[in-house]
Amino acid sequence: MTFAKKVNISIGIIMIIVCLITPFFIIDINRRFPNAKIIENASVMWRDCEITPLDAHIYSVKSFNNKYPDLPYYLYLEGRDNQDSYYIITATVSVTNNSEERKMFSLSSNSYVEVKPIYLSNGGPVIDGDTVIEAGETKNQTIAVLCSETIADYSRCDSFEDNTIEIVFSYYPERLSVKFNSVTVEN
């Protein structure tokens, strides 16, 4: 048997040993760190605040700037050649402060917006609502998220109305999110 053959056979044996031993470790590590539990409730508790979804809209650049003419965030997109490939998604939630202290709670710094099936995920500014909430008080907040073809795949849906919008507060160990099952498209 040549030396090269011995080495090749040794590599084969090592591979077999690795294939036989590693499943035990794989099962163990995945038992210690299982996938996140998905919590599906109408509202979620996050950082002593109860968050309930209210409504969601998808705007074109023009319709968003018409609705919110004082907001500077997406004015720069108007007039561009590819303006029609951008959309702004807004989601409004109510936030109830269940603690005994005044709280500062902003959707921007506490959550991420996901849109499926176009597989968009993005953060954005709070465009409406107060981020300072007194104890026991409920206030609404609206977050606006920019959607473009560089980060989402429009070909995955025939119409934006098919999309589900989700605001995610935590991904692990539980996926805490609020879902908006119906979306209004504003053209």
Binding site: I29, I151, D153, S170, Y171
Partner: protein, 276 residues
């Protein structure tokens, strides 16, 4: 034909080329495993605070082919065609030059020999690339959890990439498809050397031809920069994080077209050419 397969497999197992190829691949994956994966596995919850922007360490962030923060994956991608070609890509050229082929053709038909040579070169090239990847994956999966990717920016793929929905829902299937692609691409590039045996007299150039085509396609792709075709450089097509936009049909058609062209050239010349 079975006997010829056995002879060719024996040649591969006995060849230093196969040893060299697999060992180089294993060295790269072991270095990445000990330098990157083991430190991460010692603190899986490092940086995790429960917020949307954090997540425990997952195999789908730091496994070898996802790890673009370190050079090991890039080195592997650069030398991929060489790793695929060294095991058995030069054997046909050696058979032609040494006259061994005359012994073969006096015993079995040309067509059978050419077919067996093509298949064994394809499989040897594919396996030489796949074995280190499989070992790396198994070792990494045994120390890092297989947490499903989420869309919080920590996982490299964005939503507009090919098979993004698969990556975020069935990541193991996504990886399996890519491993199959690596096997096919490696096999195809290895078999390009068989056609190159008719063009070059020196083994060095025969072995280098797949590497040249691999890079040539990348250079042409970046020059053309077509928005419809997107990127068709093999390195971009095989990049798991899809840093450049690619198309699924290009990922499948490119090795198919390359394979058909190189096989056709190899087959026609192999059947027509005199061997004396």
């Amino acid at each position: 034909m079975k006997r010829l397969f056995k002879i060719e497999i024996d040649r591969i197992i006995n060849s230093w080329g196969y040893v060299l190829s697999v060992v180089i691949g294993l060295i790269l994956v072991f270095i990445q495993f000990f330098v990157v994966i083991i430190p991460e596995s010692n603190n899986i919850l490092s940086g995790f605070d429960g917020s949307f922007a954090s997540y425990p360490k997952s195999i789908f962030i730091t496994w070898f082919l996802f790890d673009d923060r370190h050079p090991y994956m890039f080195i592997f991608m650069i030398i991929l065609p060489i790793l695929a070609t060294i095991p058995h890509g030069g054997s046909y050229h050696n058979d032609l030059k040494s006259g061994y082929i005359k012994n073969i053709y006096s015993r079995i038909s040309r067509k059978k020999y050419l077919l067996v040579k093509y298949i064994t070169t394809f499989v040897a090239g594919g396996m030489a690339v796949l074995i280190p990847l499989i070992i790396s994956f198994l070792l990494t999966a045994s120390v890092l959890p297989s947490l499903t990717p989420v869309m919080n920016g920590l996982f490299k793929l964005s939503g507009n990439r090919v098979m993004a929905d698969l990556y975020f829902s069935k990541p193991y299937l996504y990886l399996f498809i890519y491993m199959c692609l690596y096997f096919i691409y490696a096999g195809v590039f290895a078999t390009i050397a068989l056609s190159a045996s008719y063009v070059f007299n020196y083994l060095f150039f025969v072995l280098l031809t797949p590497f040249g085509i691999y890079y040539g396609l990348g250079v042409v792709s970046s020059y053309i920069n077509n928005p419809v075709l997107k990127s068709f450089g093999p390195q971009c097509l095989l990049y798991l994080s899809q840093i450049r936009l690619v198309r699924m049909d290009v990922m499948i058609l490119e090795p198919l077209i390359l394979g058909v062209i190189s096989f056709a050239f190899y087959w026609i010349r192999g059947n027509k050419d005199d061997i004396c």
